[in-house]
């Protein structure tokens, strides 16, 4: 790794040259920052990756089956595996999607599964992201630039090539395409992940479009051009459910496409990922994923969840009340590292206040044991320090379910923090899948 470290400055210059940034809103102002990159990669052996791959494929297959079931027959509720409160009171459940059947029955085309490697060398799933998981573009471009800056590193280390992500994305879009072009639909230049939207459009050969470029007529989505309108067959939307169609969801949305849901419900366009997927990546539903795997696939879950308690259940509530000081509490409505509270960091009064909040709205929270996950070396000011890091694996579902042989490793830059999100100051690393 020393060669890569020796080339840190050149790598960072290359990242700046290609505008590898993310945006952040603070105090009402939008700022773009370079996404801090650490050249020391996470390395996963071929054997570990195969095991991880099998577990991730299994999990995503079950989650897809769950979403289909929830918006159709609801067997899993009727059979008492998942309580209906966890479905219908989830902010990610969209009644408007009842009966919607996406092309080829794929709901979560691009799944971002967050994992950590415990000190016991076991992978633990932290959360599933089935709406618009972001981050693949960063290790994708970082690999290209690292190879350019330090070719000797890649001559010595045989690493699975991750530069096929654009092709995998295109293949996924093509598979579900209902007839027409592929479009990456962005909320615009001032979105936090705008770099990613534009880069993935380029890499997959799709057209990058904003709401004003798209319109629906006779339940068909079109791209507005300087010639005749062009039909859109697959829409990789990077706009959240609430805002994609002002006539179906948030009426004040200016970044959506009126009547998009009409075109989607008619089967005339594939929306990637499908609206309504949030019902399956809710932090409360996470608890039930191993049960889903068993229910839909008749298999035991290959990957473990972090030990989780639902205060909704009386036994779990008692445990949480008695052990709050060493648990991490998560607000199911929050994302991006927000709403995560470590019991040990609270004063006695704050702990009591949190207990009351949990008792008042048990469905709103989950509690987890703090997974003692492995730290990773990070280069900082010329020396190596240890920092908490997670892994977001990307699983693409088209004709088959494929795990991208790479992933986004995020690390905390604060030595005392477990929170790795870029919006909270975290950095990123490339993820190497070793060929041997």
């Amino acid at each position: 790794m020393q060669e890569l470290l020796n080339h840190s400055n050149e790598i960072n210059e290359q990242l700046a040259r290609y505008g590898v940034k993310f945006g952040i809103y603070k105090d009402g102002a939008f700022n773009e920052r370079l996404f801090p990159f650490d050249p020391i990669p996470r390395q996963i052996s071929q054997g570990d990756f195969k095991a991880l791959e099998a577990g991730l494929v299994q999990r995503v297959r079950a989650l897809n089956a769950f979403i289909h079931d929830i918006y159709h027959e609801k067997h899993i509720i009727r059979d008492g595996v998942v309580p209906e409160e966890f479905v219908y009171r989830s902010p990610g459940y969209l009644a408007q999607c009842e009966g919607a059947t996406p092309p080829k029955l794929v709901y979560s085309h691009i799944s971002g599964i967050d994992l950590v490697l415990g000190k016991d060398n076991e992978w633990y799933i932290l959360e599933d992201n089935l709406r618009i998981p972001s981050g693949a573009s960063y290790p994708l471009i970082a690999r290209t630039l690292c190879r350019r800056c330090s070719p000797e590193t890649f001559q010595k280390n045989k690493v699975a090539d991750n530069r096929n992500y654009g092709m995998l994305l295109k293949r996924t879009m093509d598979y579900v395409n209902a007839g027409g072009i592929n479009v990456v639909f962005t909320p615009g230049r001032y979105n936090a992940a705008y770099f990613e939207h534009s880069y993935l459009a380029e890499q997959s050969g799709a057209v990058l479009a904003e709401s004003g470029d798209l319109f629906v007529e006779n339940r068909v989505l079109y791209y507005r051009t300087d010639r005749d309108p062009v039909r859109v067959g697959a829409l990789y939307r990077r706009v959240s459910d609430d805002y994609i169609d002002p006539l179906f969801f948030e009426p004040s949305s200016l970044i959506g496409i009126p009547n998009l849901m009409d075109a989607y419900m008619a089967g005339n366009v594939a929306v990637i990922n499908a609206p309504g997927n949030g019902v399956a990546d809710d932090k409360g539903i996470y608890y039930f994923v191993p049960k889903m795997i068993s229910y839909y696939l008749q298999e035991e879950a290959l990957l473990k969840n972090a030990p989780t308690y639902l205060p909704y259940f009386a036994a779990d509530m008692s445990y949480v009340m008695a052990n709050l000081d060493h648990l991490v509490i998560k607000d199911v409505a929050e994302a991006g590292g927000y709403g995560v509270i470590f019991g040990e960091n609270l004063s006695l009064a704050q702990r009591e206040e949190l207990k009351k909040a949990i008792q008042l709205a048990p469905r709103r929270f989950i509690a987890q044991e703090v997974v003692d996950f492995q730290e990773m070396p990070v280069s900082e000011g010329g020396s190596l320090v240890e920092r908490k890091a997670d892994l977001r694996a990307f699983v693409l579902t088209g004709e088959d379910v494929t795990v991208w042989p790479s992933g986004l490793t995020r690390f905390s830059r604060d030595p005392d923090s477990f929170v790795v999100n870029s919006s909270q100051g975290g950095g990123f690393k490339d993820t190497w899948i070793l060929c041997q």
Binding site: S198, Y199, E210
Partner: protein
């Protein structure tokens, strides 16, 4: 795909206008930096008036810093460079990351010159990067319509600056010819009145007619 959305066509056009604004104006100001070494006066008030921009600078030095480097000043060259990059960023999949990188480098060079005691050196890098961008998009973009919309934007901006800053008409007229050729290789629809007037431009016209030529240039495309 050989079709473009209307918004993309507009961004391509404005990308051309902004890069040309930065490159041509920097070239124009180049010798002012040299004159300032000897304490020779520079007519920055006349320059602002010609460009119809506010002139609230305390002195020549404040003008050179504020007009060139101050990104918070909406009429500055730095703001134009940011707008150039902003348009480019929204066209990544159309112009390509490799070409877009030259705009990133131009803005980085601007940033590095802000506090430099030798601002002409980073500014020279800005011009170098813009020239590299011009070569890169001309070479890498296969779609003739796309290439020529950018060139139309650049042509309009160049003519606008030449007319405002008092270039001789025998230098302006060939630029009109170039713009017409580029326009004919796009699907842009020009304003008929503006087009008629520009096609009639001669190498020598009375000064009072320059304003109508400038208006025709500015109104040629509604983008």
């Amino acid at each position: 795909m050989d079709t473009l959305s209307v918004s993309k066509a507009s961004r391509l056009f404005w990308l051309g206008r902004y890069y040309e604004r930065v490159a041509t104006t920097l070239a124009y100001l180049w010798n002012w930096y040299d004159r300032m070494i000897d304490g020779a006066p520079i007519d920055y008030a006349g320059f602002c008036s010609a460009l119809d921009i506010d002139c609230s600078y305390a002195d020549a030095e404040a003008f050179m810093h504020g007009y060139v480097f101050d990104g918070d000043n909406p009429v500055s060259l730095r703001a134009a460079a940011d707008a150039m990059l902003g348009n480019g960023m929204m066209l990544r999949e159309t112009i390509g990351s490799r070409t877009l990188a030259y705009l990133e480098l131009a803005v980085s060079a601007f940033e590095s010159g802000k506090d430099s005691v030798t601002p002409t050196l980073p500014l020279q890098r800005v011009i170098d990067c813009i020239m590299a961008f011009r070569g890169s998009y001309d070479d890498c973009i296969n779609d003739e319509n796309v290439r020529n919309i950018i060139k139309c934007g650049a042509g309009v901006e160049r003519l606008s600056l030449y007319l405002r800053l008092g270039w001789r008409m025998d230098l302006v007229q060939p630029e009109v010819g170039k713009l017409m050729k580029r326009m004919n290789r796009t699907r842009l629809v020009p304003s008929p009145d503006a087009l008629r007037l520009l096609l009639a431009v001669k190498a020598s016209i009375p000064p009072e007619e320059k304003a109508s030529v400038l208006a025709a240039v500015e109104n040629l495309f509604k983008l």
